[in-house]
Amino acid sequence: MAPSAAPAPSVAPVPAAQPDPPMTRGEAQLERESEERRRRRAEALSELAGETNEIRRPFAPSNEAMILLENVTKVYPGAVVGLDDVTLQIDKGEWVFLVGPSGSGKSTFIKLLLKEIDATSGNLQVGGRSLRTLKRSQVPKLRRNIGCVFQDFKLLPTRSVYENVAYALEVQGQRRELIERKVPEIIGLVGLADKIDKLPHELSGGQQQRVSIARAFVNHPPLLICDEPTGNLDPETSIGIMQLLYRINRAGTTILMATHDREMVDKMRRRVIALEAGRLARDDRRGGYADETGL
């Protein structure tokens, strides 16, 4: 497998999420606290933005396509248009935000990449492989090379953190020794070393999302698709998740993130692909969430 052969990325461990400060009495104190939270969030955001600014220069797209769409159209039964003649290229190592209102085609785009559905017409390639000619039996292989992080985490509810992450390696028939070595390592990396035997429902939303990122990344896939990874999380937790994803991206993994988080997109100033009614409405190298012209 190509991804497992790749060298382990130099991702620094993230400290475990801080527990919320205890409840306090007194309005003044509450206010002071929310003030404090706002400040911390602003700091963290600018830190993230600072990191992205810093990385902009060394960031050099390889011009090798990770994802390539040529006139891709998806029409669902009942003439519902999911994607309408979309042509775009996402290079290896890029970080791309996918934005647009609900029903604009973001989910269709992601489902096409995972070959959950097939395009009605057009050419769609992932990692240089055409998905049109990809056999059904090859779909699992495709998915092992694409990490997925979802808004609702999609963890296996009856399995521990360890088992959830290990499952992604087990489906490939990896050897037990390798699994036993790799899984704790990646769980430590996302800052959940002390939660390794917990079940998903015993974790907070942010922690669950870290587990799902660990699972998505344990193969070191060249492509990580995130479908509103912070959609269910509070802003502070979101930043932690974004930092984690950012580190993964810096290690060379292409990241495609569908999101509604306007602030995040505006701050990070990365490539933004906007969809509207299935059409490619905007593709900015360093875009914001909304069009610069104030749409």
Partner: protein, 302 residues
Amino acid sequence: METRWKFFFLEAIKSLRGNFATTMAAVVTVLVVMFIAGIGMALGSYVYNYSNKIRDDVTIRAYLEDSATPKQLATIQRTITSTPGVAPNSLQFISKDDAILRLKKQLGEDSELLKLTLGNPLPASFEFKAVDPDQTAAVAKAVAGLPGLEPPQSGLPNPDYGAGKADRVLKTAGTITIVMAAMGVVLAIAAVLLIGNTIRLSIFARRREVEVMKLVGATNWFVRLPFMIEGMICGVTGAALAAILLAISYQTLLADRINSTMSGGGSPGSLPFPLLVVLLIFAGLGIGALGSGLTMRRFLQV
């Protein structure tokens, strides 16, 4: 490969424990179905064997006049042995003494009836069987009317093979066998549907899990195998419990009664119990594996 099987097996055990309620539902379903099927199979085979035994046991008796001469007896014997369709070696001569001894055995030495009879009123007879039980009537006819035989009277045909009685028993047994077979078919269909439905419920409750497995890159077989092993474990457990229950109920309810009513002439015997258990276990295994394997197909289209 060995470790993979271990993995699949552990997966199955894990999810069996994790989904205790559905596991129990599936096991109990198999248990009930297998128990009823077991009773049906035992009874069905019992009736089938019993009716076969009656058919095979149909004996033709040609009663002889006390005044029959040895020459007449020789002619009758020759006629019987040369009639096509008579089972070779089945011919037996029952003398008057043999006949009274047999009756004494049946009624008991102290029977009032025997005390009242003077001398020996029973006739001597030739007893023989047809090779094919269905040919009994034809074979009997070949002997009828020979000199030396007692003349037939109304209600007392000679030769006598219990025509009316045997026919009724055979007809009834045939009907029972057909009804049993029909019930068996209906039961089998009901069992498969019921078990399939239980498995579907169990998988439906976990369809999100299956979806996630597929998204992480599991092949269909990788997802399906633990489910199938799970189904097989449920099936075998249910079948084994049904076998135990069958054994208990046979011992406590039926054993004495069957032995007493069927005593004499040896028990016709039904399907041997170990064979029944093996059949049930394999049926449980097959239903479990097939039921979950086939039901999975719908949920694997992710």
